[in-house]
């Protein structure tokens, strides 16, 4: 009987907005202020110290129509035991075969992303998916179920196109702790978004706590106590790390 009650409660929760369904107990504030993105290349970050975290690409999921393929990280990441880790799952959609997953494929996909939370010493999960407008309902459901699937004490974040932070606020109500505005590779729309980022008053509240920058582009935004995620197109070294640290101090 108790099980049926539980099923009923869960079913009613599923009908509510994602934010109402599950909330995290551990906001992203538990993570360091500087987080280095470590993409798919060998990285030795054993010397970065406990004040700096690493968001590493744990896997890439490629969606082509109804087909999914998962590519786990194949390059070593070396970190010291005290380093806070965020496991990143990148989702890509084949431009020639638009996403058309069936609802019954969602649990499997969620379990794939959630599995990264169980990697050793992972203290946060991040999803990197440049979802188009038509892909947003799918993404929203994925995040809803992912939030439910991982430990509630684990911060869940996403990378956010800058437009998401200022646009129609589709981020509102997502069951995530942080949306990181990606302020690089923006071409001509770079400046207006940077101005907004400088002010820090994005429409979407979830975007206000962090910035995503790249070392090979203008690196001139004040962090203003926000968490800084830094991408480096080449492997990290001491010089690059020093540049990232300087930015945090701004």
């Amino acid at each position: 009987m108790r099980q049926w009650v539980l099923v009923g409660v869960l079913a009613s929760l599923a009908l509510q907005s994602p934010a109402q369904a599950i909330r995290s107990n551990a906001p992203a504030g538990s993570l360091p202020r500087l987080i280095l993105w470590a993409w798919e290349r060998p990285e030795d970050l054993r010397g970065i110290g406990a004040d700096t975290g690493v968001a590493f690409l744990a896997q890439t999921i490629t969606v082509a129509g109804e087909r999914l393929s998962i590519s786990r990280r194949k390059q070593p990441l070396r970190v010291s035991p005290e380093t806070s880790l965020v496991a990143v799952t990148r989702i890509e959609v084949d431009p020639l075969r638009p996403l058309s997953l069936k609802p019954d494929q969602l649990p499997g996909l969620v379990s794939v992303v959630a599995s990264t939370a169980r990697l050793p010493r992972v203290r946060g999960v991040q999803v990197d998916f440049d979802a188009t407008t038509s892909e947003r309902p799918f993404y929203r459901n994925l995040l809803r179920d992912l939030r439910a699937a991982i430990n509630r004490d684990l911060p869940l974040s996403i990378t956010a196109l800058a437009s998401w932070c200022e646009g129609d606020d589709w981020l509102g109500g997502l069951p995530i702790d942080e949306a990181v505005p990606m302020l690089f590779r923006m071409g001509p729309v770079d400046e207006p978004f940077r101005r907004l980022a400088r002010l820090g008053n994005w429409n979407a509240a979830l975007c206000r706590g962090s910035l995503g920058l790249s070392l090979d582009e203008r690196f001139d935004l004040p962090s203003n106590s926000r968490r800084l995620y830094v991408f480096n197109p080449v492997p990290w070294n001491d010089t690059a790390l020093a540049d990232a640290r300087r930015q945090v101090m701004r």
Partner: protein, 779 residues
């Protein structure tokens, strides 16, 4: 006319925003775009534009920044060897029809056991890959072959023991246990928190069972240890199987023991000495496999594993062997190319831009290995590379080293003149001819022997033909452009053809030749050299002349005309403006009415106001000439007449364009032909014209970015002609334009101009439709 809504390569959705200076609700336009923007490329970087032709020996102009696999092919061509035949992968069932081994296994298992697949088995790759060690990297723990073998064995045991037999069920259940080790804890639901990773081993068989069942279970148990990452125990058990003459798995025993030992070396070894010792053990075992005729089916794989070990134990020696295959063999496999790339990347770095002197173990890499020697001399940067290339050319006098010497020779090099003269001896039938010709022109130009360079260019084709692919023709046109003697020539050579299209970010990825839009782009295009030259190395009068000339195709001619007209307005050069206005009227009919007003204005002030209104109404008017196109701009045939909410409105400040600090890198045409990475003045532009150009650019620079200039001018106009009926519209467009022209980096943020325009509009023209439409102003 097409509005370019999408201009972002990395981020797939873009929106235009601006901070509203009012606290009330702000309308924000969100424009969603899908997919990256493809740049239209005239000279590719890492991959030749026509890979298939290249690999058949039609290599065109071989360039240092091509991937090393292409340089290896070019080396063969230039050395007089036939193209390397790349062995096709084994023929198999087309991928779309081939059953997935994992799916086949799940189906067979469930059929025998009556089970259903679990959520953890939702995707093959989720099961097959397993994170290992503490480095967050995954290995392909259970490859397809494992499932294929399982399915085949299941079928064999079914034939032997019967479909519903207990033996078959027992075998299948045990095999399912074996495969449960594949994914490892993170992919399983409810993993054991902390502690050692669990190992799942099938139950032992009772004594007295059939020998085949016993042998199967021994094999399954060893495999369970293998997939459970217990490699030492797995190797021990596989060796026992190898020693069991009665086991049907005997021939696999030695081979799998070797594989387990390799895993110990790659996954478990904690130091180089241990790793090397384990590799040595594995190599000995693999040699025993090769000596075992009964294991013939495994010999090819064993040889591959020996090569794998060699590449890790003795990388330079193995590199030389692969290099020899690529340089002198008659055929090679994709694996040879992959090995070559892996080893060179290990020694040089995964890059095409590196200093010759910094290559690790360089002397060993090039010792008695001409291919490697040549690749490093062509590709490595710095005078040491030049010295090596020249020394080798002097020693050999061969075309292949002549190409290297030509690439590396610099004007101050004592050998430069000697090399450029030697290049004349290359016969037109040589595969190196187009490369040598291109480089000879380049070096003659650098040596100041311009006439000789032009004379040589005159003998070279103007359109594609064997040996001169479209990409090569683009490079020759770029040289002709650089050496043009008059404007007509320059305009003729400014246009190129698109040979490739690719998102900038993917340009250097190994698999990127396949990333194309598949659309034909037959329109002539500019490249970065033309854009930079028209924008910074021509006085206004020459731009007007270029616009008036019918040489350029209309789509490109209008770009030049736009810049000329805009500059004429900014510089208050009405005579130039009137000349080009007639051309713009013809090329861009929607602008006709505004251009007529400009042309027919009664005096200079009226003409200037008409020009301002035209500029305000035509945000697509730029003061610079765009160079390379992308898949969106290729469709632009006339200037935009409405504000583009994602950028591209008007122009920014007039700074010297630099290519070095772009994340997209220096365009290849600039990289190859302009040593300072700056486009030079054409020879026919006189000293006086150069001085004029500099003065004009300085004056344009003083005018600043478009929105500041236009705002200031319109405010002056409103003050001088308050009753002009077009003033309200101009003021309103200032406010709107301020919002959408916010993308100029470094522009002084004089937002008070927008505020003044807004206040003037509402104070003086409150009842105008423009005031009613303009509710906010923007910082």
């Amino acid at each position: 006319m097409t509005l370019n809504l999408c201009r972002n390569a990395r981020l797939l959705i873009v929106a235009a925003v601006s901070a509203a200076a009012v606290a009330t609700a702000t309308t924000v336009y969100v424009i969603a775009c899908g997919g990256p923007i493809y740049d239209l490329v005239t000279v590719n970087v890492v991959h030749p534009a026509e890979v298939e032709r290249f690999e058949k020996g039609d290599v065109g102009v071989v360039r240092p920044r091509l991937a090393r696999r292409y340089l290896a092919q070019a080396y063969r061509s230039f050395s007089g060897r036939p193209p390397l035949v790349v062995a096709a992968p084994p023929k198999s069932t087309p991928a779309t029809n081939r059953p997935d081994p994992f799916e086949e296994w799940i189906g067979a298992r469930d059929r025998v056991l009556g089970t259903t697949r679990s959520a953890d088995e939702a995707f093959a790759s989720l099961v097959q890959f397993r994170y290992v060690g503490n480095d967050y990297q995954a290995i392909w723990n259970c490859p397809d072959d494992a499932f294929t073998t399982a399915v085949k064995t299941l079928a064999a045991r079914q034939a032997r023991f019967g479909e519903g037999s207990a033996e078959l069920r027992d075998w299948t259940r045990a095999q399912a246990v074996v495969f449960s080790n594949c994914p490892g804890p993170p992919a399983r639901s409810n993993p054991q928190p902390g502690g050692p990773e669990p190992l799942f081993v099938p139950e032992p068989v009772p004594s007295g069972v059939d020998a085949l069942i016993r042998a199967d279970r021994a094999y399954q148990t060893a495999a369970a240890y293998f997939y459970g990452l217990q490699y030492e125990e797995a190797a021990r058990r596989f060796r026992e199987i190898a020693a069991d003459a009665t086991s049907p798995w005997r021939s696999y025993g030695q081979y799998l023991a070797a594989r387990a030992t390799i895993r110990m070396a790659t996954v478990n070894a904690t130091n180089d000495a241990e790793r090397d010792r384990l590799f040595g053990t594995a190599q000995d075992e693999l040699k025993r496999v090769l000596a075992d005729a009964s294991a013939a089916a495994l010999h090819e794989s064993a040889r591959g594993l020996i090569d794998f070990i060699e590449a890790r134990l003795r990388i330079v020696e193995r590199l030389h062997r692969v290099s020899d295959v690529l340089a002198t063999g008659t055929s090679a496999t994709e694996q040879d190319f992959a090995d070559y790339r892996w080893m060179m990347d290990r020694l040089i770095g995964d890059t095409i831009d590196y200093d010759y002197v910094n290559v690790r173990r360089r002397d060993e890499v090039i010792a008695n290995d001409e291919l490697n020697d040549w690749v490093l001399a062509v590709q490595g940067q710095g005078t040491a590379a030049a010295e090596r290339a020249i020394a080798r050319w002097r020693a050999t006098r061969t075309p292949v080293w002549l190409v290297a010497a030509l690439w590396r020779a610099y004007p101050q090099s004592p050998a430069a003149a000697e090399i450029v003269d030697a290049a004349r001896t290359i016969d037109r039938s040589s595969p190196a001819y187009s490369t040598v010709a291109f480089l000879r022109v380049r070096l003659l130009t650098a040596l100041g022997r311009r006439d000789e360079a032009r004379a040589l260019l005159a003998t070279l084709p103007n359109g594609p033909e064997p040996g001169f692919q479209a990409e090569t023709i683009n490079l020759l046109k770029a040289e002709r452009f650089l050496l043009a003697d008059n404007l007509g020539e320059l305009l003729t050579q400014a246009t190129r053809s698109t040979v490739f299209e690719q998102p900038a970010e993917l340009r250097e990825l190994p698999g990127s030749p396949t990333v194309r839009t598949g659309k034909p782009y037959s329109q002539p295009v500019f490249d970065a050299d033309a854009g930079a030259l028209f924008s910074r190395r021509m006085p206004l009068d020459r731009l007007v002349e270029a616009a008036v000339s019918p040489t350029l195709p209309d789509r490109l001619r209008v770009r030049v005309a736009m810049a000329a007209f805009t500059r004429a307005v900014l510089l208050r050069r009405d005579e130039a403006g009137l000349r080009v206005a007639a051309i713009l009227r013809q090329l861009a009919p929607p602008m006709a009415a505004d251009l007529d007003r400009y042309t027919k204005a009664a005096n200079a002030d009226n003409r200037h106001f008409a020009a301002l209104l035209l500029l305000m109404r035509t945000p697509g008017l730029h003061a610079d000439v765009r160079g390379a196109d992308d898949e969106n701009t290729i469709d632009d045939e006339e200037p935009m007449r409405a504000f583009n909410h994602v950028g591209g409105n008007w122009w920014c400040a007039f700074e010297e364009p630099t290519f070095n600090n772009s994340w997209q890198g220096v365009p290849e045409v600039i990289n190859l032909l302009y040593p300072t990475k700056q486009v030079a003045y054409p020879a026919f532009i006189t000293a006086a014209e150069r001085a004029t150009t500099e003065q004009e650019l300085k004056a344009l620079g003083t005018a600043g970015a478009a929105r500041s200039y236009l705002a200031a001018e319109v405010l002056l106009w409103a003050r001088a002609r308050p009753k002009d009926p077009d003033v309200p519209e101009a003021l309103a467009l200032i406010v709107e334009g301020w919002r959408w022209n916010a993308s100029c980096f470094g522009e002084s943020d004089n937002w008070q101009l927008a505020q003044r325009a807004f206040q003037t509009l509402h104070a003086r023209y409150p009842d105008s439709v423009w005031a009613q439409r303009t509710k906010y102003w923007y910082k």
